[in-house]
């Protein structure tokens, strides 16, 4: 575990801090649907901390977005996405999705070579499908399907399961193998900026929200569920939304408790 030590130590510290703080978790907000977020008090503090960090990060991301031509920006996004392929591959195998894993392997080989280290997504043009897996999804697939929401410092929305998975995935991610020292830090910072730039368009929405914390949580949790089910989650139980609210108007929708 030589080159990853530094990064791991930091992530490890963050997780430990997260867990300690979680001990003194606060109350859940009322008037929303029940969400698995018993650490909401702590999560909100980290959310506020991240918002503070964003005061520095956002202007950098805006600058990057402005000066970088779209094709270059897309290339950078492709490059980082390609680096995730080994993690996806391993987790596809762990989940028994062998057919998908072959496709991921193919993508990685094609894009890393003909795609010039992944900057060009040749594989998509060739019609090789893209998948995204990680250990959090694998654990969900194995039955750990309801994990509490956990706001990570800097990394943002997650669950306890997915944060743990993320840490474990970083052990064998190629980023730490190929890049060393300051190069690796540069890469991580670049990736962070690239990620942030992708979400700039949502800022207005988040800022105008009644409760930005809840908005981010709901959007992230729903999308995560979508990933776990490989894009085909079960349909929502809308009847629950009407339960005990409109009984007299909708006799057909009153279920059990």
């Amino acid at each position: 575990m030589y080159p990853d030590l530094h990064k791991l130590r930091i992530i490890g510290c963050l997780v430990v801090i997260a867990l300690l703080l979680a001990g003194c978790a606060g109350t859940q907000s009322r008037n929303t649907d029940p969400v698995n977020d018993p650490w909401e008090g702590y999560n909100r503090k980290v959310f506020a901390f991240n918002e503070g960090m964003d005061k520095v990060v956002r202007p950098i991301a805006v600058g990057y977005d402005k000066i970088t031509p779209d094709p270059v920006q897309r290339g950078v996004g492709n490059f980082f996405r390609n680096l995730d392929a080994p993690v996806t591959y391993v987790n596809q195998v762990l989940q028994g999705k062998f057919k998908h894993s072959i496709s991921t392997l193919g993508r990685f080989l094609v894009n890393s070579t003909f795609g010039l280290l992944g900057f060009f997504d040749i594989a998509t043009q060739m019609g090789i499908p893209f998948y995204n897996e990680d250990l959090g999804q694998t654990m969900a697939n194995w039955g750990y399907d309801d994990s509490r929401y956990l706001m990570l410092p800097i990394f943002g929305p997650s669950t306890f399961r997915d944060g743990t998975g993320r840490l474990a995935d970083s052990f064998y991610s190629p980023v730490g193998r190929v890049f060393h020292g300051s190069n690796r830090w540069g890469l991580w910072i670049m990736r962070g900026i690239d990620r942030r730039a992708m979400y700039l368009e949502q800022d207005a929405e988040l800022n105008s929200a009644y409760d930005p914390y809840v908005l981010m949580r709901d959007v992230w949790m729903q999308n995560r569920q979508f990933q776990i089910y490989d894009g085909d989650p079960p349909m929502l139980d809308y009847d629950l939304y009407l339960e005990d609210d409109f009984e007299e108007e909708d006799p057909g929708t009153t279920g059990g408790q």
Partner: protein, 205 residues
């Protein structure tokens, strides 16, 4: 990405490629195809005219798309507990405010993206039941990426109507419910309607 797509979804719904002609005439899949196809061809044929006169485009969306939607039902789902005890008229007023905002977005999106986005309606896949179903579509974005956009439909006395849009797993109804429910309970429905009407509360950015 997700929220940008939340915006595109609506727009995207208007650009159907009508790939599956073999569906029943009153099925949700057919409805999505035929109505979006109709709006799409109207917009592409009269793009200049609508660019000059966006109000006419809003009228078109209102006339062709609104009959497909059950906005009052969406409003009730979004209001949830907070809608308890509200008069029917209030809920309808809230629904109208929301749909006005949506029409505005659809129309703007149509002008901006009409030539850049492709929508494919996927065939019905068995989860159709007598009261509830979903129509799955796939939107091809300008950069070549694909976004799955699903529509939840329910059967009403007037036929199948859509009441929710789900983009990459993110449900419009669920997401806004958790924003609007507490806000209504804290500040009252009139204040929320006011914020919607004045554009302070943004939907589907």
């Amino acid at each position: 990405m997700k929220f940008r797509i939340l915006c595109l979804l609506a727009i995207a719904s208007l650009f159907s490629g009508s790939l599956y002609a073999q569906t029943e005439a009153d099925s949700p899949v057919f409805l999505v195809e035929s109505i979006t196809g109709k709006i799409f061809s109207d917009v592409t044929n009269n793009l200049e005219q609508y660019t000059e006169n966006p109000e006419a485009l809003k009228d078109l969306v209102r006339r062709d798309l609104m009959p497909l939607l059950d906005i009052n039902y969406s409003a009730r789902l979004i209001l949830g507990r907070a809608g308890r005890g509200l008069e029917k008229e209030k809920i309808e007023e809230f629904a109208t405010s929301m749909s006005n905002l949506l029409i505005d977005r659809y129309a703007k999106g149509l002008l901006q993206f009409s030539s850049k986005i492709k929508l494919q309606v996927l065939p019905q896949r068995g989860d159709l039941n007598e009261k509830l179903t979903r129509v799955k579509t796939r939107v091809t974005l300008p950069d070549g990426g694909e976004a799955p956009v699903d529509y939840a439909f329910r059967k009403t006395p007037d036929g199948w109507k859509a009441f929710d849009v789900v983009v990459e797993g993110i449900s419009y109804v669920t997401t806004y419910r958790n924003q609007i429910m507490p806000e209504v309970q804290a500040n009252g429905i009139d204040s929320v309607i006011e914020r919607l009407n004045t554009g302070q509360l943004q939907l589907a950015e």
